[in-house]
């Protein structure tokens, strides 16, 4: 199998992940986008590992580490999203914007609301 196939598939997956992060406003879906990006990279790593016939199997080892780290990351991310949900009853990222560059009057409004 030519190297190009897995590379193109993983590039497409990565692009879908990027799209998910940029276009989705639901925090959980954004997290899923990030996961998709990481898994696209795993595919890439394995393809390169096979292509180079790497006797140290660096690509496979790297993929193992990526899987674990992605799990840890998602656990932590869900914890943060959950905390956000419990305080605000929603996880729409566009609604979470009290920290931003803005005019003073806006900020005072925000502080009053809080």
């Amino acid at each position: 199998m030519p190297l190009l196939f897995p590379l193109v598939v993983s590039a497409l997956l990565f692009a879908i992940g990027v799209y998910g992060v940029l276009a989705r406003r639901n925090a959980i879906l954004v997290l899923m986008g990030v996961e998709l990006m990481l898994n696209a990279v795993n595919l890439n790593l394995l393809a390169f590992d096979a292509w180079h016939r790497d006797t140290l199997h660096s690509g496979q080892i790297l993929a193992l580490f990526t899987i674990t780290i992605a799990a840890a990351e998602i656990g932590l991310g869900l914890a943060i999203v959950l905390l956000l949900f419990r305080t605000r009853r929603q996880i729409n990222l566009d609604a979470v914007r009290e920290l931003a560059d803005r005019e003073d009057t806006d900020r005072e409004d925000a502080e009053v609301r809080r």
């Binding site: 193992l64 899987i67 674990t68 799990a71 998602i74 959950l82």
Partner: protein, 119 residues
């Protein structure tokens, strides 16, 4: 092609076993329905009441699921050791014991903080 024959055989065996046992069970088994049997199945525990309209899962599921995933995934690091433990000899053993002890520290923390209690 020959390489794939064992996989195909295994697939057929596995699928066949599932189909045969499901069909045989429904044909031959006694049928005594009660309320618990038609209820949704949740790993052997009392099913959680679902609010109307789909609703949300209680947060308890989330915590348990996350703990499971994290501990489950860590075991990935045992895999290379399992493949080559005989050559890694004492070094591999010591490293793995250290690794598992570290994971157990996290486990102990979760346990002491009540992360494992369902209610």
């Amino acid at each position: 092609m020959n390489l794939y024959v064992p996989i195909l055989v295994l697939l057929l065996l596995g699928g066949g076993f599932a189909v045969v046992s499901a069909v045989a069970g429904s044909l031959m088994g006694p049928k005594r329905w009660n309320r618990a049997k038609v209820d949704s199945y949740e790993c052997g525990i009392e099913p959680t009441p679902q609010p109307a309209g789909g609703g949300r899962f209680p947060v308890k599921y989330y915590i348990t699921a996350m703990l499971f995933i994290i501990f489950d995934i860590e075991i990935i690091f045992l895999f290379p050791w399992a493949v080559a433990f005989d050559q890694m000899a004492l070094f591999g053993l010591v490293e793995m014991v250290l690794f598992i002890v570290t994971v157990f520290v996290a486990y102990a923390y979760v346990w002491r903080r009540g992360g494992l209690e369902w209610d």
